[in-house]
Symmetry: D2
Subunit: 350 residues, 4 copies
């Protein structure tokens, strides 16, 4: 059995990790870390776990955790892990970090967008960006996995094949993203109250959201050069789900735009054998509801010859493939488990 | 492998059956019956099943199904199964009926509340009312299981121990029930449109809802006499979940109302060993969100000495324990499977 | 022009007062009191008021307000007004209190349910309970109006005619109430976050909610004796609206239950001429959506001869008739305005 | 009094027209046309109108309406008005058409996107596109007003000043629009059921939505040349509201991008005196909730120097400024009323 510890077990991503690990055949949770609820029964914080989890919440003691567990998931605020991580810990235990601390390779970019000083830049280089479908082999041997952001996972996977193959002009990429409210976390803030979110939609973090440089870096690797893209997140009155609508200018091949079949073939080449990416059939638009509760990303596209653009769409559950599910997928890669173990969840509808 | 067939596979309860059976180790679906979508790919109707179900929808041919499968689930309109069921079919296959056709023992009561003629009353007597926690032993050897209604399951289980033990005056029982909208089915009717349900709550079927006689009959067996109760359903702007709030006069024992501990002990006696009924801790009110996606029923109660009443509360997911989950639980009983096989779903929050 | 001041202008009830008073022909708001937002532009707190309100928020200075205004609305926490009200203030200005401080005549009952000491019990007796349709004449000459609670207004008006006429056994009265989330206020608490409320329903404050004694007192006046009733509130995933479903045993008249027509006639006698109470047509159940944004209370009932009970239903918008609308209605009575001035709002659907 | 008739009074836009006209001082509704509900009391269809509207629904008799009324609002399916409109009718009565029949000047474009033959192209030229803030003077003397679409109004007004002033490269314009579900109408279709829309978001009509050519035509007039733009609508789980997020490349002026202040000044020049367009303060993103129930359009923008783009945002209530409110605004222009009469509605929050 893989012994897992969670730091930040009472946030929404932490709670989802618990849900998923309870269904994993070869993992057990040994540590429910939650600074806010020390000594409280976990099932009193998340009543859905009543009779399923008997443990009490523990403090966030990374050194102790490193001794007792095989893998630590950190679902913590930005900067936390960077401030306490040591070589000694990394020698003892695998770490899957759900925060952004080790996602961005360029420290100055990280510090500029997150407006905090990075306290352990020496680990950035070795950290593997845990977007499983793209970095699978590197993840397997990592000590430290930087689990991607929710918007990021959806944004990258939706455009990746076309950027990689040079079929779109990546500088024209515009990502309009829509997220359910669980992405905002469980902190008690007035803007996240039911009455403020319900019956409402708004953009936020326009031209300044922190997931932007993460998307730019990863798609930049695919493009083979630095990119600047537009990314606009929106808050949608629903609990779970991210939908991205991405716009880019299609490149002509031999004077003509590629056909539906040609683009479809590219997507299929990249994703046809992927367990968790579904390229939908022609004319079917992804909907967040169709992936809810599961680790799937649904993607599709529409060519608009009128404007010379392609509209790419992707949907995932921000708490599963956008956070805890991908973290478990990374854990499976790290420990030689079947990649889908614990993740074969059928989407729940309605 | 248990070969299962579903008639009415494209309704919400049918869709949920598919979700649950896909996760069942010893069952496989051989027939996706849906008169409205014959020859259409099932995954085109329920896009969440894309790449999970490759089958196409078939007609509702009960005789053919009886030959090809071990168990048939009928998630069909009232009166349908009653109009086509035969002794020959029952000799070939187990039937779990999610409609109301065989739930009520008294034909005239059925006909009065449902306003249709019962076409095969000869099977009513042998049909076993499939409320697993109460009729477990009878279910095991049944040919025909009448799977209980969603409101009914929640209403009965919440009050059952106190009625059975005579701790409340069952004639004072008032059940105020609140349901998510999936209970209304997938038929395209204006009152179930998003804009009509959202930001709204209403009672309906006041003093006339068809689940009333079903509750009365079953709780009547517990009480040892005929009962008349008040039952009022309400439509709540959410997809899943039923909450019941039940009121009854407590009986005094030796001149005093029973204590919290005494009542709790009764609930624990009945439900303490039940895998799918959770008696919550003192002062914790059941919430539908804590059971969403799972087969749990959460129950609790509050004694109000001021008024001499007890307020009992119960919550379940209407599509799982209130329909498809209970149907699978019944299937497990019928075929000697572990009762929880395919149903060990952790509730999803948020 | 009536010069109005609001203390607590940035809560939801305060915000609704602003919305209503902006549409009132003979009132103007001179003071937007909000201790949390002093000096901030009111329209920055409530962006819907952009270009409609230019004022900045002021401190809660009751003495200064008494000098500058004709009427003060206090939408403040329990105990606040009681702790600062003086005879001098009451001699200068009319006060309409949206808190519970002066609603309950018996101080010990108030202190027992609210668990705070009442700091100015000397004003309780003269305070008029501002349920306009019942206490209209007393309101007109009051100095201090205790504006009723949201649940209370709906609960009382729904049952009042039958209690007053002795047609039901008031001791059997059970009120099952369902409220939108704005009733919980704008304070940033985790249980009111979108993800906790959405897709969820629960009871709370079972057998202990503070509106219980207020309902008991007022219906007790109607019954001519002290009453004890059951009241259970529920939190519904919607912004606005309260629905009550009330159960009581009907009394027989001359050996028979009263007919629909007889009960309807009673309701019509009491409410037929009321501008803001609509007795719906037979078989139409009140829905909160049909009164949203307006000052209406919709009521109706269903006789259940099978159980000998009557089910009464009522719906209102908790922020309008349940709070700010009724406060404006009381203001109109106090100042001799047309009772419906500023309140002739057509319910908004959908 | 202006005598108004409505054809299609029982759709959502028709219902909103009734709500608004009930509050208009100089208009009265003489005809509630609804083919589906002939002879039924209007208030039975829309129970919010109980005691406010006593009329019964009538058939859609345009000739009779022309005689009895001063203005006819047609909230009807595409092609209906075009199929019955005559010169004689236009000589008798003003017509404000909420359908798309006369919005697009080029018949072939209309027929290509709507896939129906236009039956009265002879009236297209004289029809005035009723976007009040832009075509105010032309509306005043029109016989036939083509009331703009909901997406269209929001999309055009958000970008108009910058297109008109040539500050953006209009060919790069991408409009990502999000709409509440009332935009889909009251027809009973499965995709609009509560359970299908709730907890879900999706794009639809990608690169093919009918509002595209309408936006292109109107913004093309502003640009002084033909435009092709990308427009993608999304369905959001809320009743009312449209939010558009628009992306375009900013043009440099003298080698530098215009500053916030320069762009703000342009918006203020165009909209500073407009009663119903609010240019928000810097960094404030429009939210649909802030305009709900009102005739406002809230707009704002953000310059992204990193990418050389500007992100423009706009929000309105699709049933008010996006349909019925703008129709009433047009009526006011046609009849010399104050433009805001009946429309001075304060947005409702929460």
């Amino acid at each position: 059995m893989i012994k897992a510890g969670i730091i930040g077990a009472t946030g929404y991503a932490g709670g989802e990790l618990v849900r998923l690990l309870l269904g994993h055949k070869h993992a057990e949770i040994k540590w429910f870390g939650s600074r806010s609820y020390i000594d409280k029964k976990y099932a009193e914080v998340y009543q859905n776990m009543f009779e399923l989890v008997e443990d009490r919440c523990l403090d966030d003691n990374l050194n102790e955790l490193a001794k007792q567990t095989d893998v630590i998931f950190t679902a913590t605020p930005q900067g936390y892990l960077a401030s306490i991580l040591t070589e000694e810990i990394l020698n003892q235990v695998k770490i899957i970090d759900l925060s952004a601390d080790y996602r961005i390779k360029d420290v100055s970019t990280y510090e500029a967008w997150y407006k905090i000083e990075h306290k352990s830049p020496q680990f950035i280089k070795e950290a593997v960006y845990g977007l499983c479908e793209i970095n699978r082999e590197n993840v397997k041997s990592a000590r430290l996995v930087a689990n991607p952001g929710c918007y990021t996972t959806c944004s990258i996977l939706t455009a990746y094949p076309l950027v990689k193959e040079g079929l779109i002009d990546a500088d024209t990429l515009i990502i309009d993203a829509k997220s359910g409210t669980s992405g905002a976390g469980r902190g008690a803030k007035a803007p996240n109250l039911f009455c403020e979110v319900n019956e409402n939609i708004k953009a936020y973090g326009v031209a300044s959201h922190r997931h932007t440089p993460e998307i730019e870096e990863q798609l930049g690797y695919a493009a083979g050069r630095k990119l600047k893209i537009s990314f606009t997140p929106h808050l949608v009155p629903m609990n779970r789900g991210i939908l991205v609508t991405e716009y880019a200018s299609l490149k002509k091949i031999g004077g003509a735009y590629p056909s539906y079949g040609q683009i479809k073939a590219v997507y299929d080449t990249y994703y046809g054998r992927e367990r968790f990416i579904r390229v939908l059939e022609q004319e079917v638009c992804p909907e967040t509801k169709w992936v809810e509760g599961s680790n799937y990303v649904d993607v599709n596209f529409k060519i608009d010859e009128r404007t010379g653009r392609i509209i790419m769409m992707g949907a995932l559950d921000n708490l599963v493939k956008g956070a805890a599910g991908q973290a478990v997928q990374n854990m499976n890669l790290l420990f030689g488990e079947k990649e889908s173990e614990g993740l074969e969840l059928v989407p729940m509808f309605p």
